[in-house]
């Protein structure tokens, strides 16, 4: 499977560098919102999305760049979106936090943590009732599991055995909050309570992620209903780029270092020959140069278009002055 191994490596490498570039663009003032980098968690999005078809649907989160790229969104248009440009996947209306890209079947990334789970159930219900075998993947973090609406979504998905795979990226923190101080019982126990097959899986080895995701996706595709996969992972960067300014000390350097020993990039790199890796790494840089060039070179929106896309029928709200 070196074909597969190198393509997985390629994707992880691409996302890692994409995120590093976006952090630079935050510093450069091109990304006004700042970003929630997924550095350290790339294997989850890549492994899970590697089991999906173009038609399968993804609902992402505020830490979603990796999901979008892994699902096949155009990186240049994703970066343009983060930069608030009209060429962005959402024409600058979604931004880094809450993007969607229907051309890649990424339906959205709601800002209300945990609420994507029930939205995913609704998408899955509609898909199932239309007779299609498409699958829906709902990504969320460990912080989302204490949000009641997420569990309401689990109940609906389980009641009707909907084709959803719930993917919890347990990166151990919700902003500064350690998961162990927030979650009574276990995350997988919450799935089990609803009769949803639930498992905790290593999130740093992309091939392990892919294997676990493949069986959950297969279950969903063949009418076996929802699954919950809790991936053990970690973000090396802060919650959001604001941590570059506010020096929050909610975790030790030793803890970060210990997770870096299992860097998903290194783990997968070890499965690819160095010449191939060198080629991939170089091509990634070339592609990212054009991605960034496209994004920052794209036009900014015109303030007169502020009311665009608010309503389907073109309804124009009254202005703030008469």
């Amino acid at each position: 499977m070196t074909e597969l191994s190198s393509s997985l490596y390629h994707k992880i490498r691409f996302i890692r560098r994409f995120e590093e570039r976006s952090v630079d663009l935050v510093a450069a003032g091109e990304i006004a919102s700042g970003v929630h980098p997924c550095i350290g968690q790339e294997a989850v999005g890549v492994g899970v999305c590697s089991t999906l078809t173009h038609d399968d649907v993804v609902l992402s989160s505020h830490r979603g760049h990796g999901h979008l790229l892994a699902k096949g969104c155009d990186p240049a248009r994703v970066m343009a979106e983060m930069c608030g440009r009209v060429t962005g996947i959402d024409k600058g209306r979604g931004g880094s936090f809450h993007p969607s890209d229907f051309s890649a079947n990424v339906y959205n990334s709601t800002g209300t943590v945990g609420h994507g789970a029930a939205i995913a159930a609704g998408v899955a219900w509609a898909i199932q009732r239309s007779g299609s075998s498409r699958v829906v993947v709902s990504f969320f973090g460990d912080g989302a599991v204490t949000q009641g609406s997420l569990l309401e979504g689990f109940n609906l998905a389980a009641l009707w055995q909907l084709p959803v795979v719930y993917v919890c990226e347990n990166n151990k923190y919700a902003t500064t909050l350690p998961v162990r101080t927030a979650v009574a019982g276990t995350i997988t126990g919450r799935g089990a309570a609803f009769g949803i097959p639930s498992a905790t899986v290593d999130g740093q080895d992309v091939e392990v992620v892919r294997a676990a995701a493949a069986s959950a996706v297969a279950r969903a595709r063949t009418g076996g209903g929802p699954s919950l996969l809790e991936f053990d992972t970690y973000r090396y960067f802060g919650h959001h780029t604001f941590e570059l300014k506010t020096r929050l000390k909610y975790r030790s350097d030793a803890e970060i270092a210990s997770w870096q020993l299992r860097d998903p990039l290194d783990i997968q790199a070890a499965r690819v020959s160095s010449p191939v890796r060198a080629l991939i790494d170089a091509s990634v840089e070339v592609e990212l140069d054009s991605v960034v060039a496209f994004a920052v070179g794209s036009a900014r929106p015109d303030p007169v278009d502020a009311f665009e896309y608010m309503y389907s029928d073109g309804l124009r709200p009254r202005a703030g002055v008469a």
């Binding site: 600058g92 209306r93 959205n108 939205i119 309401e152 109940n155 309503y311 309804l315």
Partner: protein
């Protein structure tokens, strides 16, 4: 001509739209027994795939509907109690209503939120008797409050066909109201178009929902004293400002009768817009619920918080004198 009740009009409009468009389906509580009678006979007529019984999980099924809508369906959610719209306020106003904009127009969320039980219920207590329609207008959610069976039919049909979220308020006090209608005349009524129920020269009385009947009764009662125009905006948002302006062009006097709380309610918005932008020859007046009206559970007390015809009579006379 057959007499059509408001409740029957809802049942008919919903049934007609479901016949017309297979993507329309209904979800809510006690659907299998059509507790509110809005969906009477539908389970047999449309089957359980289009009449979805929901658990007691309002936020979950509101998000579920959002997902189904993004996947091409047209959900109609029935809510049995006004406060349930407060419980899902974030899911409607901050999620469903914003996803189109956030996607840069890639998607739309054609969900109808149907409350066939708007307003005060004698003795049901503080938590069951609010009128939250002004707040949906504040948040820019399309909102209607029809007063008659014909308007109820037309605006429910329009709400369902609209590609954006629409909240439909059907007043408890109006459900039994009957009107002679020729079924062939029943058709969609556009949003944001008011209706002059009675033409007058001296003063414009704006009333909505079940208060339209009170306004008409008072107009009759005062016929000897003054020529009263009764204007029903029918839609809360978008509002028919042109229709109101046309009426005030002639009368120059305004009284609003509105069942919502006083502070920051629709009644206030109508006075404010008229005062700022329209012709007024005397200070306008409004009859509303008190500020932050909270009813208890004793009908005598609660009735004292509802707008009355006597108040309208006094207000009209006051406006005519000044």
């Amino acid at each position: 001509m057959p007499k059509l009740s408001y409740l029957k009009a809802l049942n008919r409009a919903l049934g007609d739209e479901m016949d017309r468009d297979p993507s329309v389906f209904v979800l809510g509580e006690d659907m299998n027994f059509a507790l509110t009678n809005v969906t009477a006979g539908f389970l047999e007529r449309f089957g359980p795939e289009r009449i979805l019984e929901m658990p007691l999980t309002e936020q979950g099924f509101t998000n579920f509907a959002t997902g189904a809508a993004m996947a091409g369906r047209r959900p109609v959610i029935e809510f049995q109690i006004p406060f349930l719209l407060l419980l899902v306020f974030e899911q409607i106003t901050n999620q469903a209503n914003k996803f189109r904009l956030m996607s840069g127009g890639q998607t739309s969320v054609p969900v109808t939120y149907l409350l066939p039980a708007a307003g005060w219920r004698a003795a049901w207590g503080a938590q069951h008797s609010d009128q939250p329609y002004s707040m949906f207008a504040h948040m820019g959610v399309k909102t209607v409050l029809p007063a008659t069976p014909r308007d109820a039919y037309g605006l429910l049909a329009t709400a369902i066909r609209d590609d954006d979220p629409v909240v439909f308020f059907g007043p408890i006090a109006s459900l039994g109201v009957r009107e002679d209608v020729d079924y062939a005349d029943l058709r969609p009524i556009p949003l944001g178009v008011g209706r002059v129920h009675r033409v007058g020269e001296d003063v414009t009385v704006v009333a909505l929902g079940h208060l339209v009947a009170d306004a008409l009764a008072v107009a009759e009662e005062l016929a000897g004293e003054a020529s009263i125009e009764v204007f029903d905006p029918r839609s809360v948002y978008p509002f028919d400002w042109d229709g109101l302006a046309r009426s005030l062009e002639r009368t120059g006097r305004l009284v609003v009768m509105d069942d919502s709380n006083r502070s920051c309610g629709l009644g206030g918005e109508i006075l404010a817009t008229a005062a700022e932008e329209m012709r007024l020859v005397s200070p306008p007046k409004r009859i509303t619920r008190p500020d932050g009206a909270m009813v208890g559970a004793a009908p005598e007390l609660d009735a004292a918080l509802q707008p009355t015809r006597e108040q309208l009579v006094a207000a009209v006379r006051k406006v005519l004198k000044s």
